[in-house]
């Protein structure tokens, strides 16, 4: 992106768009970094008007310390550079580079990092934060020649990394990956001494662009893909299993098939953090089963579900896998070594991301592994992520027993269902994640930034219910969230989502029943909007109201009770924050 393009992006937003306020904290003159940052953030949230405020020159920590609970921005971006740790590291400074000064710089930098950590700790409960560690080289002030790292430099870097590891652990601070930035912005094309001395911006225009892009992505990362559907022959393993047999397919170093082994390891790692993995292959099911039984497989068989193996079109396999997972094609990646198969699946499933497995191209193979991690990687892994695949298996068993979609009363009575309503889970990452990624049972499709979400759940009269579910098939984890505000005898519901894994269990009915009682209201006002994907929500409300809603509507308690079917759940309530330990 160049400056002109960046300016045009920020100027093309309707003036009446809802503002999204970002504070850019840096010790230098932000200039183009600010322009590019505004443009990249704007691209992520085109329906908002991004505004960026900056602090005083040379006072990054002061900018952070000036952020109060009353003036929290929607996002906070911190571009740290060495002069923020000690002004003598600034080319614009007249401070000494003497041997004595160097010792003092190391010591002072550590204190500055402590102060920075302290300032961050005070606003950690506030906006989402992205932070870049110093991107520019240190000035040549150490006694060693430039090709040798001095002990002072290593101490500085060590203290910096310790600080970064500590704040990253807090969860709300996303640190820009310096290795990835190194690839995007070559080290020798970052620093512009003349610009630094003349204008106070030390970055080349190109570096300002690349850094802004990564800071913006760290601030507002794209939603991760939910699943990967993989081919088997010459993809999960090397060789055609139906031709050479299950014992002869390979994925190891000695067979020069390590790329397939790395792919298996990556899929296993993604599965551990909640990405769904399935297989689609044109093959003999019995032979594939034998291959999956091999003990040296690097991807555990129980991490792959469903496995679709037959001789029919792969697009049909993908259809059934998506039905089993109950997610849309645009949340999924399909990996195959055959361009023809990729094209066939892409034609049948618009929106699916098709990735070619480059079996003999190692550079492309590495790029593919990184692409899959980038698409599916998560900032945090929750207990619910670990439960996801198992709950889908259970869901498949559940659906088999309730064939036809309507659960027979005796079946629902006998599954020992427990629904837990947690009214103190507003700050749980899983709750925020669920609200922002659920499509089918979603009151209005609205997505929230973290700051918008916090405002919603901390408003006067706010009610937030996070719903967990388990039955004799196992736990589904946190599967629904409802948020709104009580206004007199009415509960205004702004957000209501439920995972598709939890359909057909009458959890939505139980949710309304409990809230009518516990919130002490006689009616609910739903902020409803039809979307391309929230058909299940429309169907639920149509059944309750007797007509399909088109926009906001009210539901009285008596209306609901008249249509509410029998409910067999054991209901538990958690109301105190201490419940989360």
């Amino acid at each position: 992106m160049n400056i002109t393009e960046a300016l045009k992006i920020t100027q093309s937003v309707p003036r009446d768009a809802r503002p999204f306020a970002v504070t850019l904290a840096c010790g230098f003159t932000p200039l183009h970094l600010q322009t590019f940052l505004a443009a990249y953030i704007q691209q992520s949230i085109p329906d908002r008007k991004v505004t960026i405020s900056t602090g005083l020159y040379g006072n990054l920590v002061g900018t952070l310390e000036s952020i109060s609970a009353e003036s929290l921005p929607d996002g906070l971006v911190i571009a740290l550079e060495w002069p923020d740790l000690d002004a003598r590291l600034d080319y614009r400074s007249a401070g000494s580079w003497s041997a004595a000064a160097v010792n003092d710089i190391v010591s002072h930098a550590k204190s500055a990092l402590d102060r920075l950590a302290s300032a961050l700790a005070k606003i950690l409960a506030g906006p989402r934060i992205s932070l870049s560690l110093p991107t520019l080289p240190l000035p040549p002030l150490f006694h060693t020649p430039g090709w040798q790292a001095s002990a002072h430099q290593l101490h500085l870097e060590s203290d910096l990394l310790r600080f970064a590891a500590d704040v990253a652990q807090e969860g709300r601070v996303a640190i820009v990956n310096t290795q990835r930035l190194d690839e995007a912005s070559p080290a020798d094309a970052r620093f512009d001494l003349k610009s630094d001395l003349y204008t106070g911006l030390p970055y080349t225009t190109q570096h300002a662009d690349r850094l802004a892009s990564q800071l913006a992505t760290a601030l507002l990362p794209p939603a991760p893909k939910k699943g990967i559907i993989s081919d088997l022959d010459d993809t999960l393993w090397s060789g055609i299993v139906g031709e050479i047999g299950p014992d002869a397919v390979t994925w190891d170093l000695a067979s020069h098939a390590q790329l397939h082994g790395l792919y298996q390891k990556l899929l296993g790692s993604l599965a551990d953090s909640g990405t769904l993995i399935a297989a689609a292959s044109k093959n003999d099911p019995a032979v594939v089963r034998q291959a999956f039984d091999r003990p040296d497989l690097l991807l555990r068989t129980d991490q792959v579900f469903p496995i679709e193996v037959h001789w029919k079109a792969k697009s049909g396999s993908v259809t059934r896998i998506l039905e089993t997972w109950n997610i849309a094609a645009d949340s999924v990646i399909f990996v195959d070594d055959s361009p023809m198969e990729l094209a066939e699946v892409a034609a049948a499933h618009p929106g699916i991301e098709c990735v070619l497995f480059p079996k003999n191209d190692y550079a492309a193979g590495l790029a593919m592994l990184r692409q899959l991690r980038d698409r599916c990687g998560k900032e945090r892994v929750s207990n619910d992520d670990a439960l996801r695949l198992e709950s889908i298996r259970q869901g498949a068993a559940f659906r088999e027993q309730t064939a036809g979609g309507t659960a027979p009363e005796t079946f629902l009575q006998d599954i020992n269902a427990v629904v837990t309503f947690d009214f103190a889970a507003g700050n749980e990452p899983r709750v925020f994640e669920l609200v922002n990624k659920t499509n089918q049972f979603n009151l209005n499709g609205r997505r929230y930034t973290e700051s918008d979400w916090r405002k919603l759940i901390s408003a006067p009269g706010a009610v937030l219910a996070a719903v967990r579910y388990e039955d004799k098939f196992g736990p589904l984890g946190t599967i629904a969230v409802l948020a709104g505000q009580v206004d007199g005898r009415c509960l205004n519901v702004d957000a209501w989502v439920m995972s598709c894994r939890a359909f057909a269990r009458r959890i939505e009915h139980q949710t309304l029943k409990l809230l009518f009682g516990s919130a002490g209201v006689s009616e609910m006002q739903f902020s409803f909007a039809p979307t391309a994907k929230n058909g299940p929500t429309r169907e639920f409300f149509t059944a309750v109201l007797g007509e399909e809603p088109q926009s906001d509507f009210r539901l009285t308690r008596s209306q609901f009770e008249e249509k509410c079917p029998a409910l067999y759940h054991e209901v538990r309530e958690m109301r105190r924050a201490e419940a989360h330990g």
């Binding site: 160049n2 400056i3 002109t4 300016l7 045009k8 100027q11 003159t29 610009s195």
Partner: protein, 80 residues
């Protein structure tokens, strides 16, 4: 209007979107309140993008009006 003048006008419209087009030819740091040091550097970068050239920060202080920028660009184009 010659091509250089038009392209420079476009640059001004990008950097000063609220400026009426008919005021651009007479624009200078003395008449445009928003034309501060930050806008000057941004304008320089937009001109670099538009004309595919590198400008020197040393020249920035002297290039304080539309007409001076136009003359500067015409001179650079003649040299090239």
């Amino acid at each position: 209007m010659d091509e250089t003048r038009q392209r420079l006008t476009n640059c001004f419209q990008v950097v000063f979107p609220d400026m009426p087009p008919d005021e651009i030819p007479a624009a200078s740091t003395a008449t445009v309140a928003n034309w501060d040091s930050v806008a000057a550097i941004t304008l320089m970068n937009v001109i670099e993008d538009e004309f595919g050239m590198q400008m020197d920060l040393d020249d920035l202080a002297d290039l304080d009006s539309f007409e001076k920028l136009l003359a500067y660009l015409q001179k650079r184009q003649q040299v090239a």
